[in-house]
Symmetry: D2
Subunit: 107 residues, 4 copies
């Protein structure tokens, strides 16, 4: 079962800067062979269910190893059985309805 997800990890008890933990997760997801795209409030991920959730578990394990005592994660994820759809398809579908260009997108 394929899944498109959006992962946002929030390490708690390590101060206000969490970017090094997010960077470590980016590496984990990349090394798992998953297609990802980071944005300002999380990371889009697509792949097979077990690969995606296996990598997310590794992210939690690694953040704890790096010293964070507590993690609160928000994960949105979608599955569909009516047709195949990639992360790019989802964006293209909206872009098309806006005449070929998204707000904030470089021309």
């Amino acid at each position: 079962m394929k899944v498109i997800a959006d992962l946002c990890v929030v390490p708690i008890g390590v101060g206000v800067s969490v970017s090094k933990y997010v960077a470590a997760c980016e590496k984990v997801l990349c090394e798992a062979g998953l297609e990802t795209k980071m944005h300002a409030y999380g990371t889009n991920i697509q792949g097979e269910w077990d690969d995606v959730f296996g990598a997310i578990r590794k992210c939690h394990e690694l953040i704890h190893e790096m010293g964070a005592p507590r993690i609160s994660t928000i994960l949105k994820f979608g599955t569909r059985v009516d047709r195949e759809q990639t992360m790019g398809d989802k964006i293209d579908s909206v872009r098309e309805k806006l005449g070929g260009h998204l707000p904030g997108e470089d021309l």
Copy 2:
């Protein structure tokens, strides 16, 4: 690794009423031996990582089998390594700071 999660499944393409899908998930989670507590916008779940995520996968599979072509799920989940904490502990901790009683809680 123990996890406390909050699961909110949104079947898409099956009309406005989604309670039968939510009810089916409640059964899946219960049959997986997980401790759960449903609320008006999701279900709290606690258990071992693999048990929790295995049951969530079964929920997605079942909702698709029941006829939903698409599902968008929001999952919050937390892990901590500094100490054990249950769902009840989290609520008790807030209740204590409010003098022993939560707003909306029956006396």
Copy 3:
């Protein structure tokens, strides 16, 4: 416009225990006259749009005043125009489909 929401505030940069901030928010929501019900991973809220979002803003302001430099909040919220629905209605609708009893609910 009526809204049913689920609020989960995560103060960052104040250590691992966040219950005193959550408790302060419970008071803010209650004093705003909103109907609320806390659970282990957030708080259900129902009310008029402006009342709900006004109270949430006060929660952010108060948590910062209490000393948290950063807050990351997850808010789920739903509106519907086909019919009136309360938080209790949502739970009742699932309970009914489960034969009158939710898993984890005291008999």
Copy 4:
């Protein structure tokens, strides 16, 4: 109070394709003068609190006007008082820790 948010609207009861509703929201956010960046599972938004939440309300109103009887929205949002931070700053901070390049980013 400035806020960085991530908005994901899910119209319910209008079938499996929701891109036209998402496209309409992109226009609302843009017309409100907010800085936005859409991704595959939502839209990053930054601006003043009242502008952001005012635009989100307009999105809900518009989606209902377009015919969706029910909407379930997931909103993550963060405020901080220790320093100014933009959406771009958040991404730059992670990119720097990865040696100047994010996975999935075109060279």
